[in-house]
């Protein structure tokens, strides 16, 4: 069974056709990259998949379950996590508190008023372990808005993967990062569990072709090509979009 099936999804923003009849499916454990010029509809597609906006038509299926009209929180509980193109953390909370919120999302006791947060030592231990795993222990007590942009991107990524999702949507995780930070974030993505399905938007072609098992190319809201990195590299229409005609 496919991890994620996108079936003839279209999106119309009051007359602007952002996506037209996009269909493709992603196998479990696949690293799927979405590329395309600005305005191609990549982030719109992500917002359809994560449930931020409703689709105009079409269907989205997660492991055989129709999630086309499911609210974002339900999709997350079904194992679909996402990062954001524009960093979306809890700015006035510490990095540790950010992680705690990510970790306790799947616990029913998140709603409890009769426990004390500071006594949830199992959660703090897991958050600590995640931070040290990614070498960020020293910023645990800093507020998310005070850490560097590169660190914020990494925390954004950790928040999404903390709940061990089955499918992870990454919206330009390397955008705006320095060369060294790109290497770091690409390393983090490479270290994700092999059975985690990753769908990722990326502008940097080197990064995209490096990570991808398969690539989907969007242009003006349409899926114009799909295939392995080698197939995409040689695809005439893709070359035309990126390098210009003739």
């Amino acid at each position: 069974m496919s991890a994620l099936v996108i079936d003839s999804v279209s999106k119309n923003f009051g007359g602007v056709q952002a996506l037209t009849d996009v269909s493709f499916s992603i196998a479990p454990g696949e690293r799927r990259l979405i590329i395309g010029p600005n305005g191609a509809g990549k982030t719109t597609l992500f917002n359809m998949l994560s449930g931020a906006f409703p689709v105009s038509s079409g269907q989205v299926t997660l492991f055989g379950r129709d999630i086309t009209n499911a609210p974002p929180n339900l999709r997350a509980n079904l194992g679909l996590a996402r990062t954001f193109q524009i960093t979306n953390l809890f700015p006035n909370l510490t990095v540790m508190e950010n992680l705690i919120l990510a970790l306790q999302a799947q616990h029913e006791h998140a709603f409890s008023m009769f426990r004390l947060m500071r006594k949830e030592s199992a959660l703090f231990d897991r958050a600590q372990a995640l931070l040290s795993q990614w070498g960020l222990s020293d910023i645990a007590g800093a507020r998310a808005r005070e850490i560097s942009y590169g660190q914020q991107r990494q925390v954004d990524l950790i928040l999404a993967m903390a709940g061990a999702p089955k499918v992870l949507l990454l919206d330009e995780p390397t955008a705006g990062l320095s060369a060294a930070e790109v290497v770091r974030v690409v390393g983090m993505i490479g270290d994700l569990p092999a059975d985690m399905t990753v769908l990722m938007i990326e502008h940097d072609m080197d990064v995209a072709f490096d990570i991808a098992d398969r690539i989907a190319v969007l242009h003006q809201g349409c899926l114009i090509a799909e295939g392995t990195p080698d197939e995409i590299r040689g695809h005439p229409q893709v070359t035309e979009i990126y390098l210009g005609a003739d």
Partner: protein
Amino acid sequence: MKTTSPARMALFLAVAAALALILPYVLTPYYLGLVVKMMIFALFAMSLDLLIGFTGMASLGHAAYFGLSAYVTGLTALTLGWNVWLALPAGLMASAVAAGLFGLLALRTRGSYFLMITLALSQLMWGIAFGWRSLTGGDDGLPDVPRPRLWQGYSLTDGVSFYFFAFGLIALSGWLLYRITASPFGQCLRGIRESETRMLALGYDIWRYKFTAFVLGGLFAGLAGSLYVYYNRFVSPDYIHVARSAEVLLMVILGGAGTLIGPAVGAAIIVALENVISAYTERWVMLLGFVYVIVALFAPNGLTGLIESLRKKRAGP
């Protein structure tokens, strides 16, 4: 998370409790009454802080629950002769139900739209209290609400016993509010304040959290309102008016939203100022506006924020 050491916290609580026990015996009845008023508004402000400071929902209609509970407690005590064991819970129940119903509507919006709809809903309640003369007495209000009668023949008629009654309930509420904000639920409220979209993407059903916080805020505001009607022995549409909602909003902002203790201190300051200044001038509301401008300019994070930044400055960069 900034935490105070348990030893300092215990010391602070011990001093506060000792002070609370001594006060009735050192203050004149007039000033003791003023302290009770401060405590009631401290609870009112803390209940609003749960919405504004912790969940990021700026309500400009919080007096609706304060006033409704006051009316229900006052009316049932006056017309049905209910004692405090019935009249007070009836008020709380009414304010919680109203908060639930209003929450269903208001929580469809956020930001300034939320502010407007909470304002509109509270003014609706004000209109009912003002217009339904046969029930509420209109703008004359309901005078002669009896002081709480704990059991047959024992009413809290004197200032000291009423002080302890109010203090007990308000201290308990303050502790409950603290526990709520220090719980996983409270942490989720902060998450919602910081980023609703991220909370949704993490899998939180944020509506459920916001709705619960909204009803809890209404419930504690209702307790403050019921205590206030017993305190004043009177209730009028002023209890619900937007001016009161704005006043309690100012208490929260003056003290520092999101800290509980800040809004409680803010409430005490505003009540004290109002008391002192209205002895000299009738332009109290103008002064309130002046206070607001000063706070917005020089202490946008309230007094607790001001103290925090001064402490940081002293500690060096």
